[in-house]
């Protein structure tokens, strides 16, 4: 605010300035998203629901290395490993449960994964009708 004392006392220049600001706001873009009618588009890099990726042959990328489970600060990932049917890896997960109620959506699992197998999608409306439905299993994670 670079205004002389007299100009401040006059008060009107400040009022005009304020009116100019609100006038600009009046014609600027509206921030409101009319949610149920209009889907909210999350920003780039938004961390929502998890999914497990597949490679180009349609096999899951996960090698059951437990890196994500170890990295998870909320301890919501539970992996049980089993022998791999494919020659390029030793293990694959037999169960891979993520408790979405415990998850804090920090993205540490995605960062820890050496195989780029787990990912947080921009899906934000994670809805379930029971607590059991909130625990995502291997099948559900792969089908996302």
């Amino acid at each position: 605010m670079k205004m002389g004392k007299f100009k401040m006392r006059l008060y009107l220049p400040a009022v005009a300035k304020g009116l100019w600001v609100t006038m600009r706001r009046f014609f600027s873009r509206k921030e409101t998203v009319e949610y149920p009618d209009q889907a909210k588009v999350p920003r780039k890099g938004y961390r929502g629901e998890h999914r497990l990726k597949k490679d180009e042959q349609g096999r899951m990328k996960c090698v059951a290395c437990f890196m994500c489970q170890t990295a998870c600060p909320a301890e919501c990932i539970e992996i049980v490993a089993g022998p791999s049917p494919w020659p390029d890896r030793d293990k694959i997960p037999v169960t891979f449960n993520i408790d979405m109620l415990k998850c804090i959506y920090c993205g540490m699992c995605e960062e820890a994964c050496p195989c780029d197998a787990i990912e947080l999608t921009p899906t934000y409306n994670i809805v379930a009708t029971s607590r059991a439905d909130k625990i995502y299993d291997l099948h559900k994670l792969l089908s996302r």
Partner: protein, 352 residues
């Protein structure tokens, strides 16, 4: 009373009362836009949303069905009376405001009192009673403080308002409302009282009087930045804290009706009433000419009110001592000096 008078009375009442929901809608839409929101847009009549235009109707219906509470300790008689007291003056003032040129021999004005401006000033000051009664009768400390503040504020700013109206009387040389407008239609924009009423020497005085009147009008209508009587942060809702249901709606409507009347007064006294150079011909007394002049009047009122709303959503509220300082130490001297200047110029170079 002939059919014309009746028609005009009904028309004026409808103009003010129907203006209220339109104003509420405008206020909500403009404030939403200024704050980067969309504003009301869900209400619909027969599937027609009309950008939330029916929202005030829904609000009114809701208020009608609410419980009408009278506090146990309230002064029942005054409590019932107060909302009427605030509602009547704005309607009453409209009787002397010419809201259009004329159709045939009928002037578009309910009653042309020879004391027009004086009548306006006396009736406007009645509005204080409603606010003070409401505050006192509620028997609630917040209401009482709100009512006290309101009466002090209204009385203080009425002086300034009155002085700037007197400058107009000096410029126009009459208190007859129709005559005041007629004098502003003599030439183009410069004959408007805001621009000196045809005398170039009075141009700065006219502008100052207009500004002072506008600021005082904001205070008279309890609008931001002068809405201390209902300052939510300190007084809950001020003088209408205890009011509910339709009585609250009466206060609410009265506030907007007062805004409509005040803007009509500003338009009449300063902005040439129904006159607009190049658009309205004062000699045209046909139906089209008359309606056009009324349209111009309403459009000007709309512009004045839009500025009201725009200012409300721009400025923060004054502190009470600042309000009083502005009223007594700034606006009143300005109005007085301005009055003196106009008087001197009028004597030295005026027509009379």
């Amino acid at each position: 009373m002939n059919i014309w008078d009746l028609a005009k009375i009904v028309f004026v009442i409808a103009l003010v009362l129907q203006g209220v929901p339109v104003l509420v809608w405008l206020e909500r839409k403009i404030s939403a836009s200024i704050q980067g929101r969309i504003g009301p847009n869900r209400t619909a009549v027969l599937g027609l949303k009309a950008a939330g235009f029916f929202q005030p109707v829904a609000d009114a219906v809701k208020l009608l069905f609410k419980e009408d509470v009278t506090p146990g300790a309230a002064d029942r008689f005054l409590y019932q009376l107060a909302p009427l007291f605030v509602f009547v003056p704005p309607l009453l003032v409209f009787t002397v405001i010419p809201f259009g040129n004329r159709i045939g021999e009928e002037h578009l004005q309910v009653a042309n009192l020879p004391i027009g401006v004086l009548f306006v000033m006396s009736v406007l000051s009645l509005g204080v009673y409603g606010v003070a009664f409401g505050g006192w009768a509620s028997n609630n400390k917040y209401s009482l403080l709100g009512g006290l503040r309101a009466s002090a504020q209204l009385i203080s700013y009425e002086l300034t308002l009155g002085l700037s109206i007197i400058t107009i009387i000096l410029m126009a040389g009459t208190v007859d409302m129709r005559e005041i407008v007629a004098r502003q239609t003599r030439s183009a924009f410069l004959s408007w009282n805001l621009f000196g009423g045809g005398n170039l020497l009075l141009l700065p005085s006219g502008l100052v009087a207009g500004l002072v009147f506008y600021v005082a009008a904001l205070a008279e209508n309890n609008r931001l930045p002068f809405d201390l009587p209902e300052c939510e942060a300190e007084l809950v809702a001020g003088y209408h804290t205890e009011y509910s249901s339709m009585k609250f709606a009466m206060y609410f409507m009265a506030e907007y009706a007062a805004m409509i009347t005040m803007s009509a007064l500003f338009v009449t006294l300063f902005l040439g009433g129904w006159h607009f150079p190049g658009l309205v011909d004062p000699a045209d007394t046909s139906w089209i000419g008359g309606l056009l002049s009324h349209g111009v009047f309403v459009a000007k009122m709309g512009a004045v009110i839009a500025l009201y709303i725009w200012i409300r959503w721009t400025l923060p509220r004054f502190r009470y001592d600042q309000l009083m300082r502005l009223g007594w130490k700034v606006l009143l001297p300005i109005a007085l000096v301005n009055l003196l200047v106009i008087a001197v110029i009028g004597v030295a170079w005026g027509e009379r």
